[in-house]
């Protein structure tokens, strides 16, 4: 069942692809058709679009944390880069149609900015916005990776550093002088690529795109973890020193996986912003980064399905609980952080596997769940 334990060098046509196809059939085709026929409301479709976009984010986190054992607390920055990129494009697309009729977004008028800042200008073009949503995070991650991994900054140091960077970015984005909308962020998007965002057809198309890209991201991630590179990544997680003694350049692999996870996060942001309609600094800081960790841990780290399942289920839980108990949500989330790590280190996927092992006699090759990864410490 788990990708991690199937021999990566001898891929066989297993049930995994069938599952991916099934997943795709349900989410890419099934839900939108049901929506078009009126069985699923627009609201739920939009909600699922959000979950699926966040699932892409979780996939990236799983690649770097679940498979490679590097805890990056900067994923939300990459997500924000994607979301802000497309957000800026959409703001420009609707500028001139705002309350003030000025050629700059309305929030700039509030801050007495009447000239479009230079870094906004390229975002007039959709191609630039999409490219920057995916490539900018990857580039930023590469720079951070070059600065840290090559110098053997690892483990908790890396987590603390990325946390500090996330904090710094959050501080900056919050400022009005950054001309990114300050605390209010970017919102009030009207259209994307000329299609009105208030039309259910546009939203359905966006949903289909999100679901399809999620399946694509899943296939890419799967290809990575099943490749020889994936094996090296797991080796980094399980015993980096030994890997280095074997002559591997761990830093290169780490930078690669960090960049890929950042690109996935950017893609998630790109899809998230138009469908949710707002992106604020609060989605860019340290807490959102840590939340991604908890989705992955809850679903089951080190398994791609776990990341998907975790992102969707925790966010669904959040939608339900913030509606009924908004003040208790942080406590529930905090409790979830503790309970999952302490009691179910293998997450939902692990629980399911254990349940199956209890029920069925037949075991399909080794323990089904990935055990909590061997830690890097060598006491």
């Amino acid at each position: 069942m788990s990708a991690a334990l199937t021999p990566p060098l001898a891929p066989k046509r297993d049930r995994q692809l069938v599952l991916v196809a099934l997943f795709g059939a349900v989410f890419v085709v099934g839900l939108p058709v049901a929506n078009a026929l009126g069985f699923v409301s627009d609201y739920y479709l939009n909600l699922f679009a959000k979950y699926l976009a966040l699932a892409i984010l979780a996939l990236g986190m799983d690649l770097i944390w679940g498979y490679t054992g590097i805890l990056s607390l900067g994923q939300a920055i990459f997500f924000g880069m994607g979301a802000y990129s497309i957000g800026m494009h959409m703001m420009l697309e609707s500028s001139g149609k705002g309350v003030y009729g000025e050629p700059v977004p309305d929030f700039m008028i509030w801050n007495q900015v009447y000239q479009l800042p230079f870094f906004w200008k390229p975002y007039k073009y959709a191609v630039v916005a999409v490219a920057s949503a995916i490539l900018l995070p990857a580039l930023f991650a590469t720079v951070i990776g070059l600065l840290t991994f090559r110098r053997r900054l690892r483990g908790t140091y890396f987590a603390i550093l990325t946390q500090a960077i996330a904090f710094a970015v959050w501080l900056m984005v919050n400022r009005n002088e950054m001309k990114l909308g300050g605390t209010n962020g970017l919102t009030d998007f009207k259209s994307i690529l000329g299609f009105s965002l208030s039309s259910p057809v546009t939203l359905r198309a966006l949903y289909v795109a999100t679901a399809a890209l999620l399946v694509g991201a899943l296939l890419i991630s799967r290809a990575i973890v099943r490749s020889k590179t994936g094996l090296v990544l797991e080796a980094i997680r399980d015993n980096e020193r030994r890997l280095e003694f074997l002559g591997y350049n761990a830093a290169g692999f780490k930078i690669f996986v960090f960049a890929v996870s950042a690109a996935l996060a950017g893609l998630a942001g790109l899809l998230y912003a138009p469908q949710v309609g707002i992106i604020t600094p609060s989605q860019v800081g340290v807490l959102p980064s840590l939340e991604i960790v908890i989705w992955v841990a809850f679903g089951g780290r080190g398994t791609l399905w776990g990341a998907l399942l975790g992102a969707i289920s925790v966010n669904w839980l959040r939608s339900v609980l913030t509606g009924t108990y908004p003040r208790l949500w942080p406590i529930i989330l905090g409790g979830l952080f503790m309970a999952v790590i302490m009691l179910f280190p293998t997450g939902l996927v692990g629980l399911a596997a254990r349940a199956r092992a209890l029920v069925g006699r037949r075991r399909t090759g080794g323990p089904a769940a990935v055990a909590a990864p061997v830690e890097e410490h060598t006491a």
Partner: protein, 531 residues
């Protein structure tokens, strides 16, 4: 009888016949000219009279002018109660109209009344009134100021008054007066006089005065530069102390033990709330000793945060030793619960009042104040550092702690209960955080999010300093504190603090390129695990 008393009072106050003034004020035709004559009046009776006029409390009673007090009683212009022949207080007839003040003269009355504040009983009021008069540039205030200076006994207020007088005399027609004023302003290094002096240099015709003004400007300039440097350094040291105080606990839990305690910020929060709760309790029960609540709060904060830390260690962290990333997530979760718990219980924002003896500060140079609370935190940082150093390096318990951290197996073989040492050491770290939070409550707000603002800084300090070495933490705190406060003025603007913070973060990350293990690296259990 009424007349007799009034007459006596008028004679006593000497320079002014209040009765006559009041009559002229009351008559619409003479109101304006009367007010003009009162421009530089200094008699407290005039103040009373004008206030009554402004508030509509001046009435005509049996042909004389009387003032209606807040308690409904009547007094004459000299402030004596008006009584009838039997000695009983008299009453106004109902429906009587107060003496009207012409609307166009309202501002004039207001201005004159403001001048009277230089005679106020409140020292701060006198000071600010004198300062205002000085900057007003209104030469008619000279008389009032000179009179106030004559009566003034307080040294600080005298200085302000002299400065204000000098500022006004800059406009004097007599060059000698101007020269004296310029010299006075130059000598007192008053920054507020700079625009006035500059204006003077522009217009001055007398060469001697002009030269003196230029020299005074230069003096003030060098003084301001010197003062700013001292100020930045003090700010830097004070920020360094804040950073040190909040990272000392982390230097123990993360530096020595290698535990990533993301709830460290919340331990600070517990300390802050302890200060708040103790303050509230004192207000309710021991109001007389309210100024001393802080001495109770400090040890209580130590105990409260230490206890929470102990529970956290025994309940959660001990199962995660050697798994730093898991510890990070779990402690973050614990932090979230504590934070939201505080929010639910205490509400969004509360604040702690500094004890009265804590307000104000030391003024080493004019216009530069070192607040006592900042000085206190510097002192606390040094004291806490000293105590921690002593505990770790000069006591038997500290030796056990160091032994366990350096070689757990060997320490266990020699009979040290490593589990117990772990728990107590962690609790010590969080207790230190509690003390820090209690102290920081004095200089900031107390809200559930304080932890968030401290945690990143604390970790940066410990990481930059290098784990396991107290001296590293100290040096890192000083470096980060000073560079922050020196970069801040270089950037300028409203958001300088934030940009400086970001800049320092970038510098720290850059620095860690060369020394990934920080300024002072140590070999040992913690180092092996985290690196």
């Amino acid at each position: 009888m009424i007349t007799g008393l009034g007459g006596l009072a008028a004679a006593a106050s000497g320079d002014l016949d209040l009765e006559a003034v009041a009559r002229r004020l009351a008559a619409p035709a003479t109101q304006k000219s009367a007010l003009e004559e009162l421009q530089d009046a200094t008699d407290p009776g005039v103040e009373r009279l004008l206030r009554a006029l402004k508030d509509g409390a001046l009435y005509t009673f049996k042909g004389r002018l009387v003032l209606l007090g807040d308690d409904g009683g009547l007094t004459d212009v000299a402030g004596h109660p008006v009584v009838d022949a039997q000695g009983q207080p008299v009453q106004l007839e109902s429906g009587q109209e107060a003496v009207a003040l012409d609307e166009s003269l309202f501002g004039v009355v207001q201005r004159i009344l403001e001048r009277f504040e230089v005679f106020s009983d409140d020292k701060a009021k006198r000071q600010s009134a004198a300062f205002k008069l000085g900057t007003s540039g209104d030469p008619s205030a000279l008389g009032v100021l000179a009179k106030a200076l004559e009566r003034e006994a307080d040294r600080d207020v005298r200085v302000v008054m002299e400065d204000a007088l000098a500022k006004l005399r800059l406009r004097s027609a007599d060059p000698k007066d101007r020269l004296a004023a310029v010299k006075r302003l130059g000598a007192s290094s008053s920054e507020a006089a700079v625009p006035l002096l500059k204006a003077l240099v522009e217009q001055e015709t007398d060469p001697a005065v002009k030269a003196a003004a230029q020299a005074a400007l230069r003096d003030i300039d060098t003084f301001v530069v010197r003062r700013n440097i001292v100020g930045y350094l003090f700010n830097g040291v004070s920020l360094a102390a804040v950073l040190l105080v909040m990272s000392l606990g982390l230097a123990v839990t993360f530096g020595l033990m290698g535990i990533i305690n993301m709830a460290h910020g919340e331990m600070l929060m517990i300390g802050s709330y302890t200060a708040f709760v103790v303050q509230e309790a004192f207000q309710a029960r021991l109001a007389a000793y309210q100024d001393y609540y802080f001495f109770v709060a400090l040890p209580l904060a130590f105990l409260a945060a230490g206890l929470v830390g102990l529970v956290l260690e025994l309940g959660v962290i001990r199962f995660l030793y050697g798994r730093p990333l898991e510890t990070l997530i779990v402690t973050w979760g614990a932090g979230m619960i504590l934070q939201q718990g505080a929010r639910l219980y205490f509400g969004d924002q509360t604040s702690v009042n500094s004890p009265t003896w804590f307000r104000g500060g030391l003024e080493p140079l004019t216009g530069l104040i070192f607040p006592w609370s900042r000085i206190f935190i510097v002192g606390l940082a040094v004291a806490a550092l000293g105590a921690l150093w002593f505990l770790l390096n000069r006591t038997y318990a500290g030796m056990k702690v160091r032994a366990v951290m350096q070689n757990r197996a060997m320490a266990a073989c020699l009979g040290v209960s490593t589990r117990k040492v772990d728990a107590v050491t962690f609790a010590l770290g969080t207790a230190l955080a509690g003390v820090a939070g209690c102290a920081l409550a004095l200089i900031g707000t107390v809200d559930p999010e304080v932890g968030k603002t401290y945690i990143v800084d604390s970790f940066m300090v410990v990481v930059l300093g290098g784990v396991g070495k107290l001296v590293g933490t100290v040096v890192a705190a000083v470096c980060i504190g000073l560079s922050n406060k020196l970069i801040e003025p270089a950037i300028g603007g409203t958001a300088a603090a934030i940009y400086a913070k970001v800049a320092v973060l970038v510098i720290v990350i850059w620095f860690l390129q060369w020394r990934p293990t920080g300024l002072f690296a140590q070999r040992g259990r913690a180092a092996a695990e985290t690196a």
